[in-house]
Amino acid sequence: MIEAAVPTQSATPDRMPATEFDAEVLCNDPVNEEYNLMAVSVPERATGAVPGQFFHLLCPQKDALQPFFRRPMSVYRIEPEARRLSFLYKVTGTGTRAMAAMKAGETFNMLGPLGIGFSLPADAAPIVVLARGVGLATMAPLIPFARSRGHRVTAILSARTPDLLMSVDEMRRDGADVLTVTDLQGTSDVEIVEDMLHMLYGKLRLGGVYVCGSNRLMLAAQRVARRLDLFGEVALEQQMACGLGMCFCCVRPFREDDGVVHRRVCREGPVFPLLEAMQW
């Protein structure tokens, strides 16, 4: 078994200093009823982003839509040669609606890469990735990243309906074993997922579990990780103003030495040790 909770330097190298830059929209299209995929052309240093990091996007102000804050978005795909980044985002409120209204050729101010990305277990142990909803956008780049470092990757993707499952083919192409569970099919209950994790652990000798996008999935992963003493990380969300660690609006509570401390999702996260995260 893997030495748990020892992030390697490979996954979180020296923090790449963030920059503010204008990105050009290359394409921006719906992938299903709720999500859009946007690819942008960025300066070279922005492509130094690692999976789990995010960019802080200054969505444009249009007549009726006047988002004030930037919006944090996980980097969904990183293509350094093409100097291209992609974001997979759910069209929700003011900011993401203004984002959805952008057309190829328009530019758009971003700050990043920000935050701490995922760590991989110290040797090439298999990992499992659990994602639901928006969590998928955050988890997707971990798959090629872990594969390229020799980890076998199993992805369990959860959604309300099969229609809302995204990136399944892509993740398979990237070399993951993909299992899908949905509410509609009655396969997404946490008990089922927990059983799947146990089974995978038994079969593959998992070295790490990664989760994002669902409180209940996180709790399930925590139970499994605690029982099996398994390394794990969770990517968390919180509303952000500065994105840089200055304002302390993005804090969440974490367990530390039997007490509760606040950590900033933008700075100490958004990826945190799985067992320290508290439910929301």
């Binding site: 923090r15 200093p17 963030a18 920059t19 503010e20 200054l58 006047q66 988002p67 004030f68 804050f69 930037r70 101010n109 700050l111 919180q238 509303q239 103003a241 500065c242 994105g243 840089l244 660690g245 200055m246 304002c247 302390f248 609006c249 804090v251 969440r252 606040h262 700075r267």
Partner: protein, 313 residues
């Protein structure tokens, strides 16, 4: 080359632009060059450790933001030991912002942060005074005078008093702060406000009410800065809604000696530097050699200070 330097509250600043407390931390040095700033101002600290308020702690509103961060604080000892040294590497003077629940605790903290490396102390008297029913010290002239006198006795460092806009008596409070020994005034903190998420029927802030900042407050705080300039002899540092150099110029015209930039840094990490560059360009284009020459040069035919309420329709 335009000379951007100004005298401000016992210090000579390389330029009149600095961060507003709570919207700045050493982490920003990853992105901008601190040595270009007029001063560095830390987040307010309190004597004791505190967690701060429940989340959500911020909300966006039309033309601005609400915050109810509260004052998560490491406490004075850890601040002096760990945070102050982080700023030793920078040339811009360090201003430490403090606050406490009673005048005596406030003075005690003031004494504790009077240490090498600190150039001036910003006293956030916009915070609640437990001895006055939780009203902010700076809501009234007499509580302002009282706390300022105790603070004055506690340190020889320049004292900058940060006023609250949540009062109907800003000129009187400003005068009281001066009488109590302030070397400069920072006008102002955030304006108490709230908003409601109509989908959930809940206040958008966990704490219900919070402070409004950003462009929306600029006309209100600019007015207060103008009133303070006219009621005291010490420098006034304008702080409220400054997003661009043009906004800063407005504050300088009404007589502010310097400005603090808060919320703008959340939208553009380099906002303060843009303000500095813009100020320089403004002066250059106007053929002005020293930025200090434009301070207080508002030209106005209606300089009568009385009966300002008539102004309101």
């Amino acid at each position: 080359m335009v000379d951007l330097s100004v005298d401000c509250g016992g210090l000579r600043l390389a330029n009149p632009v600095m961060p507003a407390s709570g919207t700045f931390s050493h982490e920003l040095a990853d992105i901008i060059d601190f040595d270009r700033l007029g001063a560095l101002v830390t987040k307010t600290i309190t004597p004791e450790r505190r967690l701060g308020n429940p989340t959500p702690r911020v909300a966006e509103v039309s033309g601005g933001m609400l915050n109810s961060i509260g004052i998560p604080s490491k406490g004075a000892a850890q601040f002096v030991a760990e945070v102050i040294p982080l700023y030793a590497a920078f040339t811009a003077p360090l201003i430490v912002s403090i606050s406490a629940n009673t005048p005596d605790e406030f003075a005690e903290l003031c004494r504790k942060v009077t240490v090498p490396g600190v150039a001036a102390i910003e006293v956030n008297i916009s915070c609640p005074n437990l001895e006055d029913d939780g009203r902010a010290f700076a809501m009234r002239p007499h509580t302002t005078l009282q706390v300022m006198q105790k603070l004055r006795a506690a340190t020889d460092l320049p004292l900058w008093a940060k006023l609250t806009p949540n009062t109907g008596e800003i000129p009187e409070v400003a005068a009281a702060a001066e009488a109590g020994g302030a070397d400069a005034l920072v006008v102002a903190n955030t304006i108490l406000a709230m908003s409601v998420d109509i989908r959930t029927r809940r206040p958008t802030l966990g704490k219900v009410m919070g402070g409004l900042s950003g462009p929306a407050v600029k006309p209100i705080v600019l007015r207060m800065a103008y009133q303070c300039v006219r009621s005291v002899g010490i420098p006034v540092i304008g702080c409220g809604g400054i997003m661009t150099a043009e906004d800063a110029v407005e504050y300088l015209f009404v007589g502010c000696q310097a400005v603090q930039v808060g919320t703008a840094t959340f939208l553009h990490a380099g906002a303060m530097l843009d303000v500095i560059d813009g100020l320089e360009a403004f002066c250059r284009d106007a053929g002005i050699e020293r930025v200090s020459e434009i301070i207080g040069t508002l030209s106005s035919s209606a300089e009568d200070g009385g009966m300002v309420w008539e102004a309101i329709a």
